[in-house]
């Protein structure tokens, strides 16, 4: 039925089966959109956030998907700037994933703020001292860059490129794509950092506050490093999932190897930097604010296990598994290691967002807990559903994996 739209040389499931695959995701999207409507129409009283837990599930997951979406900018950086040509095999997929992550995060932010129609105020009356201003500017610009990077993929569709004007447009866009990759890298570096700075500057929250390096708190640099380290792992993990779900080999083995090598090496640097930062924070920053760092871990369930899990189990362990050639080349270890690395960045964002707000600041404050409402959970699941649908449609009709055709024609090993 839709054969004329499918990329040449690729086999795809029958249209009916494809629609059947989309149905549950569309249902999830529908429920989530209804939940989002409730939040927008009736107000944020539909959530379980409150005056003490002013940020909740949405901010945590926004920070996490933006970190994971860093795969787009960092793969672009490696391909176009560091000339790692092998990554041309995954750059299209990485761009789509990046676009999904960022557009999903922006959509959730639009529900999360109390007055979404005033979002333009930040551009008109910006407070240049606020990390959130930096985040807003960079996020908006980078989402535009991602949309521009997504455009050539669309224009290369069989039917669209039949129009000569579209073909010329795509060709011209392709020529400047390296510039957009560079701009995207610059913007990404800044907003990943600003998201870290968002918490690092909170002098009123000693658990999150960090000393400054140059003009930024150390979390600014740690967020950049962790996102750059985990981005390639997320590209690896998603490519593996797509291979399993579609039942096709999409990229050559050496592409996985390169992604894992880059991710592992950067993760090792990150773990080292994070360890140094933690030691400085424990031995200097906390005491300078008059807080014994032991009190941060005195409240269950956030014991020191959380710190150990974040730095060692979900940091050092995947870093070593990905960096060492022997473990990296073992398929049974490679993919779990990539997932562990992604879980590590999710854990770090959880600690920064949720643990920071749960811990008391005043002497007579209680330790607080928070459980998201179904509206919060469903709204976020709608983003997941939107991502799966957009990715599935892109995978079906666009050339996300240039090596797929070549690999499909090879005899099975």
């Amino acid at each position: 039925m839709d054969e004329r739209l499918l990329p040449r040389g690729r086999s795809r499931a029958p249209f009916g089966r494809f629609l059947l695959w989309l149905v549950p995701w569309a249902a999830l999207l529908g429920v989530g959109l209804y939940a989002a409507y409730l939040c927008l129409a009736l107000g944020l009283n539909q959530t379980n956030m409150d005056n003490r837990f002013a940020f909740g599930l949405w901010i945590y997951l926004d920070l996490t998907v933006i970190a994971l979406g860093a795969g787009a900018f960092f793969t672009g950086f490696l391909l176009y700037v560091m000339k790692k040509r092998e990554l041309a095999a995954v750059i299209n997929s990485a761009v789509v994933i990046g676009f999904i992550c960022y557009s999903g995060a922006v959509a959730i932010l639009a529900i999360d703020v109390g007055q979404p129609l005033r979002a333009w105020f930040t551009f008109w009356h910006p407070n240049v001292h606020s990390m959130l201003t930096e985040v807003t500017f960079c996020l908006t610009c980078y989402l535009t860059v991602l949309a521009i990077e997504y455009l050539p993929l669309l224009l290369r569709n069989r039917q669209i490129k039949k129009r000569p004007s579209m073909l010329v447009f795509e060709f011209e866009l392709h020529k400047v794509m390296a510039v957009f990759a560079l701009v995207g890298t610059f913007l990404s570096f800044f907003h990943q950092g600003s998201l870290g700075g968002l918490y690092g500057v909170l002098q009123g929250r000693p658990f999150a506050y960090r000393d400054s390096l140059a003009a930024w708190p150390s979390t600014f640099f740690l967020f950049i490093l962790s996102a750059a380290a985990v981005g390639p792992s997320f590209v690896l993990a998603t490519t593996w999932i797509v291979q399993k779900v579609s039942g096709r080999t999409l990229v050559k083995r050496e592409v996985f190897d390169l992604l894992a090598r880059v991710s592992g090496s950067l993760l090792l640097v990150y773990v080292l930097a994070k360890s140094v930062d933690t030691l400085v924070w424990i031995n200097h920053t906390s005491f300078a604010l008059g807080v014994d760092p032991a009190t941060f871990y005195a409240f269950a369930p956030f014991g020191t296990w959380a710190l150990f899990a974040e730095i060692v189990l979900l940091g050092l362990v995947p870093a070593l598994l990905l960096a060492l050639p022997r473990t990296r080349r073992n398929p049974r270890l490679l993919v779990p290691a990539a997932f562990l690395a992604c879980a590590g960045v999710a854990m770090n964002r959880f600690v920064m967002t949720v643990q920071t707000l749960a811990l008391p600041t005043l002497a007579f404050d209680p330790f607080l807990s928070y459980t998201p409402s179904w509206q919060e959970t469903a709204s976020f699941l709608a983003v997941v559903a939107y991502g799966v649908i957009l990715y599935s449609v892109s995978f079906r009709y666009l050339n996300l994996f240039p090596q797929e055709r070549e690999l499909a024609s090879l005899p099975e090993a």
């Binding site: 107000g43 009283n45 409150d50 003490r52 109390g114 201003t133 909170l202 600041t361 007579f364």
Partner: protein, 252 residues
């Protein structure tokens, strides 16, 4: 962000005597009525209701004695945690009065200022404000009501300051910042709250702020709060800020 001070301006603040406060809550009620804080909806609780001023009960475990601590925006001075974080300048420090103002019409409702405030002195409008029936007749025409989706907090009754400035100007002006009284100070039956210009050596508030036994909450964070507390009882001091009298700096 370091606050800028206007030469000749005031630095309004208050000193709350915890040994006089009996926890009656009159200050909180007066504040709510004066500033058009809407009645709480049915589903509201102590964590999502709007309270510009809240009276905390300080109680040591296993002990029968208790003290009360009224808490509102501390109007931080030197390094205001909320001002620098707001992306659209909806939080400002007035250089002429030192009052940390929230500008609800500019507020995006991102709640970053709430996450930044160590005193949890800010409230978000989770619901549409509603004054059912003839309760609208209780609204104070001097204070704007706020909409759903914005943050609000204590303004040190800045509308009363405005009225005092107008009165001073009508009477030929003066060289000194005007004297005025916020609603909570007026309502306290125990006289536990003293308000005034902390830079004016003749004001009672300035004298008490510097007197032994006065302290500020979370002094160690360097927020430069303009609300001081006083107590002569060590156990109250310990429950209020985790320290005994004499530990660290007690006044600034």
């Amino acid at each position: 962000m370091d606050a800028v001070r206007k030469p000749g301006g005031a630095r309004y603040g208050m000193v709350i005597d915890l040994d006089k406060c009996n926890g009656c809550g009159a200050c909180a009620v007066a504040c709510a009525v004066e500033n058009n804080v809407p009645p709480a909806p049915e589903r509201a609780n102590d964590r999502n209701g709007i309270t510009w001023m809240r009276v905390h009960r300080l109680e040591a475990k296993g002990e029968a004695r208790a003290a009360f601590l009224p808490l509102m925006c501390q109007h931080c001075g030197d390094k205001t945690p909320c001002v620098s974080v707001c992306p659209q300048n909806a939080v400002e420090v007035d250089p002429a009065s030192g009052i940390v103002a929230q500008v609800p019409v500019r507020c995006l409702g991102c709640r970053y200022c709430m996450a930044a405030c160590p005193y949890h002195a800010r409230s978000f409008n989770w619901w549409d404000p509603d004054w059912p029936g003839r309760l609208t007749e209780t609204l104070n025409p001097e204070v704007s009501t706020r909409t759903r989706g914005v943050v609000e907090k204590c303004t040190l009754c800045s509308h009363r300051l405005q009225a005092a400035q107008d009165a001073q100007a009508a009477n030929g002006g003066g060289t000194k910042p005007p004297v005025y009284t916020p609603a909570c100070v007026e309502a306290c039956p125990a006289g536990a709250i003293v308000f005034g210009d902390l830079d004016d050596p003749e004001s009672e508030a300035a004298r008490l702020a510097k007197a032994p036994g006065s302290f500020r909450l979370l002094e160690r964070l360097g927020t430069g709060a303009k609300v001081y507390y006083r107590t002569g009882r060590d156990w109250v001091r310990r429950l209020a800020d985790g320290r005994a009298a004499g530990d660290g700096r007690t006044h600034g």
